[in-house]
Amino acid sequence: MSGHTGEHADPAVAFESAKLGVWTFLATEVLLFGALFTAYTVFRMQYPEMFRVEHAKLDRVLGAVNTVVLITSSLMVVLGVDAIKRGKARLLEACFGATILLAAAFLCVKYVEYAAKFHHGIYPRTNIFFSIYFMLTGLHGVHVLLGMGLLSYVIVLSRRGRLSADYFTPAEMSGLYWHFVDLVWIYLFPLLYLIG
């Protein structure tokens, strides 16, 4: 993530640039999901009864499990970043590895949920509530998948010895992204699964 020339000879500038870059990127993600949350709000206000009835068809237990899974995965990321800041590359790899496993578990649970819905004849086209449910969780799921890729890449970098207590930018930036993905779910879960 640093410049190809000697421009980023100053690692502090490189780190600050990376941080500003990732935060800006997260701002774009807020707007991306924001548009969908806006659609949710518009339709919820328009069809309160339908939302109440339909949302009961979602499995709150599985949703809660996924919430716990994601929060734990974020914890793993925090531990991993802390580890590399102290120079512990192996620990970083272990923690990020755990994060990836938890993310995979998240996606498995989502697969189970989706499969159950399809089995009952509920699809994105069934009604507006489920259109929103599938679009929101689907887009979120894509971000989880991309995050898994990103974290894997950080593990690869670490295994090649490129990360240390002096240079951990990729780890920290990926961590920021992962926390954002977690945060989106923290909004998604109550809005879709819990609110009556």
């Binding site: 020339t5 500003l20 707007l31 991306l32 924001g34 548009a35 659609a39 086209r125």
Partner: protein
């Protein structure tokens, strides 16, 4: 800091040859050049569609093309011009080339991301071209339900536009970080060239607005593929919701189009008047103001869509306030000319043309912002004339000004001034003849004649560029005697831009005869 002379063979960043040196380059100048070539090609193709439209409009009944073909042509004209030309041309083309040079940096903050943005753009345009197997006829606004029901390759096109949008976001993100973090020592915010202020405001808009249109096209694709019904009334959806999402991006994006061009005008006017820019602070802050207010007014495209009179009133009120910072720029540019020492080289001709035509475009804005008159003029040729005056009379003229101004720096060659001026004259006359009558009474024959003259001018200009590339006289580092940092680098610049990073001690608009 002394002006750098070129080293070696005088080809600077262009020295290395071979397609790989371009395809995998991390040099912002090469990436900028690739964007420029691509966007100019799309400008010409989009222009061809316009000429075909004008040909058909010579007669009232369908003569050369069927109704459907005509509708496809105007959709392609609008979509290509907007998504493949006018949004990326100045920011990703000239911006990529000159932002680092202007701030005294060797490159942007994230060079690999920059290269990725070009390849995402290329993927986008390839996908869009792929959608031509079943081209859209919806018009560039793709309103639902028609676009969702259309037999055309909507999903493919939506994906293509999504990719173009992603490229735009990556460029904006890169510039924001670059401008914040990579300014040369001594380059305070108030010593930034005004082109940079314009690019900064543009980047903010790109980053904030584009994701919304990305989701909009994703949802349109989802309507087609998954039967999702956000915009489909038969499923409980709302067609007007599409319009809200679409215009939430598409209004701010017009400021993405105009702010960089205004930045170029702010650079060119002082240089060719030999006077400091008048009201630097106002011009700088007005860019931010325009960006901010621009986010609040999207509803003015929808006054007849059934929105409540209250909502309409709010949007109309806010819309007028965009006019104030815009007017400030115009007054400041004109004030810069006062007691100047003005010469009329081709960059200046285009910059003055920008001001002249943009004033016309801008003064037709209030008719559209005012509720009572908007109702009459919405969805008529008055709007077509308004946006062509601002987008073509404005942005495109600003783009041409930038191309002529920076041609020596980018290529190391000088253009033939006489031919450049002749082309300018054809463009100026052709443009006005094509579009002016649309404000009053559509005169198709006159407009078509004008479009032929305009096309001739543009072709002559392009030919001049090609001739300049092949046989232009070698350019000195600073042919216009300008003070911004890019003119300290060689023409063309070295790959690393500067031998040493400059230390900035002065404001870059210190033109003018010092008082004794």
């Amino acid at each position: 800091m002394p002006v750098e002379t070129e080293s070696g063979n005088g080809r600077g960043y262009l020295t290395e040859r071979g397609w790989r040196s371009w395809a995998f380059t991390l040099d912002h100048k090469r990436i900028g050049a690739m964007y420029l070539w691509s966007t100019i090609v799309f400008f010409l193709i989009g222009g061809v569609f316009a000429l075909l439209l004008r040909l058909e409009l010579l007669s009232p009944q369908a003569k050369y093309f069927s109704n459907h073909t005509y509708n496809v042509f105007f959709t392609l004209h609008g979509s290509m011009m907007i998504f493949l030309f006018i949004i990326p041309a100045i920011p990703s083309g000239l911006g990529n080339f000159f932002v680092p040079l202007h701030i005294g940096a060797r490159d942007v903050a994230f060079p690999r991301l920059n290269l990725a943005s070009y390849w995402v753009f290329a993927a986008g345009f390839l996908v869009i071209i792929g959608s031509l197997v079943a081209p859209m006829d919806t018009g560039w606004t793709f309103y639902t339900p028609y676009s969702a029901k259309s037999a055309a390759a909507v999903t493919t096109l939506s994906l293509g536009i999504f990719l173009i949008g992603m490229s735009s976001i990556l460029t904006g993100l890169n510039f924001l970080v670059t401008i914040h973090k990579m300014r040369a020592p001594g380059m305070t915010w108030h010593r930034l060239p005004l082109f940079i202020w314009g690019m900064y405001a543009t980047s903010i808009i790109q980053v904030v607005a584009t994701p919304v249109v990305g989701v909009t096209f994703l949802l349109l694709a989802a309507e087609r593929l998954l039967g999702v019904g956000f915009f489909d009334p038969s499923k409980g959806g709302d067609p007007v919701l599409f319009q809200h999402f679409f215009w939430f991006y598409s209004h701010p994006v017009v400021y993405v189009m105009i702010l960089p061009a205004m930045g170029i005008v702010s650079e060119v006017i002082p240089v060719f008047s030999r006077k400091p820019i008048f009201g630097y602070d106002a011009i700088a802050y007005s860019s931010l103001a325009i960006a901010f207010i621009g986010f609040l007014v999207w509803g003015h495209h929808m006054f007849t869509s059934g929105m409540s009179p209250l909502a309409n009133a709010i949007f109309s009120f806010l819309t007028f306030f965009v006019a104030v910072p815009t007017a400030v720029k115009v007054f400041n540019w004109i004030a810069t000319l006062y007691k100047g020492s003005i010469t009329f080289e081709s960059p200046m001709l285009y910059a003055l043309t920008f001001i002249f035509l943009f004033i016309v475009g801008g003064l037709t804005g209030p008719f559209l912002g005012a509720l009572a008159t908007n109702v009459q003029l919405h969805d008529t040729y008055f709007v077509v004339a308004h946006f062509h005056y601002t987008m073509m009379g404005g942005t495109v003229m600003g783009f041409f000004a930038g191309l002529h101004y920076w041609f020596p720096k980018m290529t190391g060659k000088m253009l033939n001034e006489k031919v450049a001026r002749a082309a300018w004259a054809l463009v100026f006359v052709g443009f006005n003849v094509t579009f002016f009558t649309m404000f009053i009474h559509v005169e198709n024959v006159i407009s078509t004649i004008g479009s032929a003259v305009l096309a001739a001018g543009i072709l002559l200009m392009c030919w001049n560029f090609l001739q300049g590339l092949r046989k232009g006289a070698p350019a000195p580092a600073n042919p216009w005697r300008a003070l911004t940092l890019e003119w300290k680098a060689a023409s063309p610049p070295d790959t690393e831009n500067f031998h040493e990073i400059p230390v900035v001690t002065e404001w870059p608009y210190g033109y003018g005869t010092p008082k004794a």
